[in-house]
Symmetry: C2
Subunit: 564 residues, 2 copies
């Protein structure tokens, strides 16, 4: 391909609002352009990268007998009504009516469509398992689309759905998908971690995310310094914390603590470490049919993890309680003993004793609280944020934080959708059972951002060899000079004949301008046809290191060796 | 690929409303399934065919330096406002508002988006021409989606747009695209004709359509029996008709014709052939800002071609006039001489004399009318339907009708959109000029229907070699018999190693069922591993002819020779 025949509108202008390098460089390098908030076009260079990413995904999935399909993007709303998600999905679900006043949605995900497809078409356990996937457009009407194509509204996604006759077979496929996804991300040249994840709104039990490690990542990942353990902050576990000090046993009694309400002040007042206090966090839970105040009790030294808290009660959302909501509550003095509201206690506190908590009476706390003795039938759940320095449940090593970009997500979905949509098969005994499902996603277009977040410098993109639009960029220093142009064209043809993916910059532009484009666009290698040709040399530049090597004109083997 | 690992939900059930063979067989063969009116999923087999069609299109376009992009499907309505099409496009344009109440459309075509992309990114004649295309989803909210994926609402289209600094260069590209499209449709294995077409709502001057010949086609094509001439009925031309008889010259005068108003009756009354009458057809033209009655005058022996009539006046639409509209008009006696309303006369009548027409007075006609003499400054245009038996303007041969399915359309678009959207470049003299554009479309998903409309029998599909999901289907007659299965697997592996695109029907189903699927799905060849193996043979069946050939087990060369 020749630059002169290719639409590559590079620009020096930094797009406004482009905080992340990937956002800036993908636009400046002519890979994408913005149409509207969260809506992008993929220009020829961006399109080639997309195609390469798609081809790698397809190759690995087809190898393990996944079947590719293309599902309708415009989806009848009644399918979402049937699954119960039409109302729950929130404003990200874009709804509209057609000319006949029938309601549709722009598919943000395709569980409903896929289950409806398989329903009544796969009838027997004999025809299971089935794993169907597509690489297709999705739309989520994000409240704050941002970071270019990292969080767009219209985007390209690989979404796969598997159907099984047993839980075991679903788990086998889940593990196969984990392996396959790992191969895909390795092939793309990404540095990633597989992390334990929260299953969120999709539902189901086991769930893992594939995280590309990058400083700019939106997600906090907890990783162990000593073993392979990694988890999303919302799903991270830790070894139960040990008491920082021993504390003399206190008698269970009410204690006047007039005006002292924060854990800080109470710790000071009692001269007791925050570890021994029970902290109350009051939230309002939003359900389909009602709102409800819920109190979460955690250690004084811990912080509430809101996603964990939400999952513990199965509500749609959790929001801050207002002053009005709390007008009758003894705020600052709320504790689990004798509390009338619904409450959940952090797993860490299970069976603990010698604790201090609010007495549910203004100006009073209880000391010497034993949760075994003083509280019957409480509901416990994991509610707290794992902190840096906490201990790994796998090996006891020290946990710390890092940042990641989610590029893949695999779920053990179970029967949530097959039950809701009445999608069944006949088992060996002729009994009708709902399909057991897994679901597997890759954010295809956002992978371009992730690749550049992980591979760039202050000059521009540095594409991995598997994803670069072209491996080698032959830069003819002055395309008006016949000798330079002719050497460039010869080299271009020779490399093409060797199967090298090469682009020739034959534009009649200044050398500096063309080198700027090379660095901005980020092809792995440039070969400069310039002044050195009078001594019989061209120069090969490695984009990553920016190191130059002189190679004799015509020494194709040497060039092939350098670029491998 | 093995049948047992592939999701191919064939069915004997004929879908209701499936009139066309392609609609019926694509659903029954497990290529597609209907989601809602005009909305379809592409299942694994259909997806493979789609990919093959896309790959052939891409290969040929890339060869002539077209650049592939992917444009946003969700398009800001303001772009359509700017081009003036938001209101004009009609109900097929699906509009909706996002969560922030901003209006968008689902792109039914992408002129606006593409012009906005190139605008300000290509600044000089030096960077022209540019030809950008995409193969992407489109949505048109058809009033009557029908015939499966032949006229769907959501569909896959290749749309390309070229930008030029001169009319000549645009015409060069138009011709190149005509040649490239011909190569594409030939490669796909289609029997097609290139026809002169009407430019319709897109605007512009020259326009040609690529029509796949099929009895079920929705479009009537006029073709010459003696030369290559072919045109859409809306665009067809003919040699000016000769008078069927000679007629004695009549004096220009008013003639009482009480109660005689149809051409039939008048012809009888005057004993003059219908050729010599001027027939008035009254229509109501719908403009942006008004409605207006317009009279079209054609020969008594001709019929009005409504698209030609619409194009002659540049209105948005043409509808029948109501009785109320006509309450003051001398209906049955309307003629061009002395008429106050706006009227257009058919080109055939230009310069004609000795005609009879209405006198614009109830119960009177004029005879001996000479349009040169009795009418000044009339507007003439081609208004009539070319009939079978009319003469070809290229060679004088006889024209006749045939039916076709439109699969491609190329336009010389000119500056309509670049002017409306203020998209300019600087020419050699530094002067700002609007881009001169061409636009080129292929109905990608409907090609699957067209392929099957042209290639099927009463048992099912017959895919062309270029488009078939698999070339050879190895049918193991009884997959429970180890010997048969093992011979089948051997042959499958051997053919795969030879690069043959082969599928193995290893399902534990009845032989008849599997052969039924073969015939319904329509792979070009089946190889049957059955009873004949005891004599050392397998059978190769040609799907088109259903002829069988016995081949010795292990004689791979013979099989390769048969399937080429």
């Amino acid at each position: 391909m020749k630059f002169s025949q290719f639409f590559i509108p590079t620009t020096k202008e930094k797009p406004k609002d482009a905080i992340l390098p990937s956002h800036q460089y993908l636009i400046r390098g002519g890979f994408i352009n913005q149409v509207s908030a969260g809506l992008y076009n993929f220009l020829p260079l961006g399109h080639i990268v997309l195609n390469k990413v798609k081809a790698i995904i397809k190759e690995e999935l087809d190898r393990v007998n996944c079947n590719e399909v293309t599902l309708g993007f415009v989806t009848p709303a009644h399918m979402w009504e049937e699954s119960g998600r039409l109302g729950k999905y929130g404003k990200e679900l874009l709804k509209f009516k057609d000319r006949k006043n029938i309601e549709f949605v722009l598919g943000p995900t395709h569980e409903e469509m896929m289950v409806n497809l398989v329903k009544n078409r796969v009838k027997s356990y004999k025809n299971l398992p089935v794993n169907l996937y597509q690489i297709n457009t999705k739309f989520r009407d994000e409240a704050r689309p941002r970071f270019g194509i990292l969080r767009g509204r219209e985007f390209l996604m690989k979404d796969g759905y598997s159907f099984h006759s047993s839980e075991d077979d679903m788990i086998r496929e889940f593990n196969l998908m984990q392996e396959t996804y790992s191969k895909i991300f390795k092939k793309l040249g990404l540095d990633f971690r597989i992390v334990e994840a929260d299953s969120g709104a999709i539902g189901g039990s086991g769930s893992k995310e594939f995280m590309v490690l990058a400083d700019s990542g939106e997600d906090t990942i907890v990783i162990c310094k000593s073993c392979e353990y990694a988890a999303n902050i919302e799903a991270a576990k830790r070894v139960k914390q040990e008491a920082p000090t021993t504390l003399p046993e206190a008698k269970f009694s009410k204690f006047k603590t007039e005006g002292i309400i924060t854990i800080e002040d109470l710790s000071e007042f009692f001269k007791v470490d925050k570890h021994f206090f029970i902290k109350a966090v009051i939230k309002k839970a939003i359900y389909d049919d009602r709102d409800e105040l819920i109190v979460f009790f955690i250690r004084g030294s811990d912080e509430l993890e809101e996603i964990k808290a939400l999952n513990s009660i199965g509500a749609n959302d959790l929001i801050d309680a207002t002053q009005d909501d709390l007008k009758d509550a003894p705020v600052g003095y709320i504790g689990p003993i004798g509390l009338n509201s619904k409450f959940i206690i952090d797993e860490e506190l299970r069976g603990e004793s010698n604790l201090i908590c609010g007495a549910n009476e203004i100006n009073y706390h209880l000391v010497g609280v034993d949760l075994n003795e003083h509280l019957k039938d409480a509901h416990y759940a994991d509610l707290t944020i794992v902190a840096e320095g906490d201990k790994c449940t796998c090996c006891g090593g020290v946990l710390h934080y890092t940042k990641g970009i989610e590029v893949g997500h695999i779920f053990q979905l179970g029967t949530k959708y097959s039950e809701a949509l009445d999608a069944n098969f006949l088992d060996e005994n002729g009994k009708s059972k709902p399909f057991i499902m897994g679901t597997y996603g890759i954010g295809v277009s956002r992978l371009l951002s992730a690749l550049i977040e992980q591979n760039h410098d202050d000059k521009g993109c540095i594409w991995t060899k598997a994803t670069t639009p072209f491996l080698v960029n032959i830069v003819v220093s002055n395309a008006k000079k016949e000798e330079e142009l002719s050497i460039g064209i010869d080299l271009y043809e020779n490399l093409k004949n060797k199967g090298v993916n090469v682009i020739l910059d034959d534009r009649k532009e200044r050398f500096g301008f063309k080198m700027g484009d090379f660095e901005l666009i980020g092809f792995p290698y440039a070969i400069i046809i310039g002044k050195k040709i009078k001594d019989g040399f061209v120069e090969v530049i490695d984009r990553k290191t920016l190191e130059k090597q002189e190679v004799e004109i015509g020494n194709l083997d040497k060039i092939l060796e350098i670029i491998e």
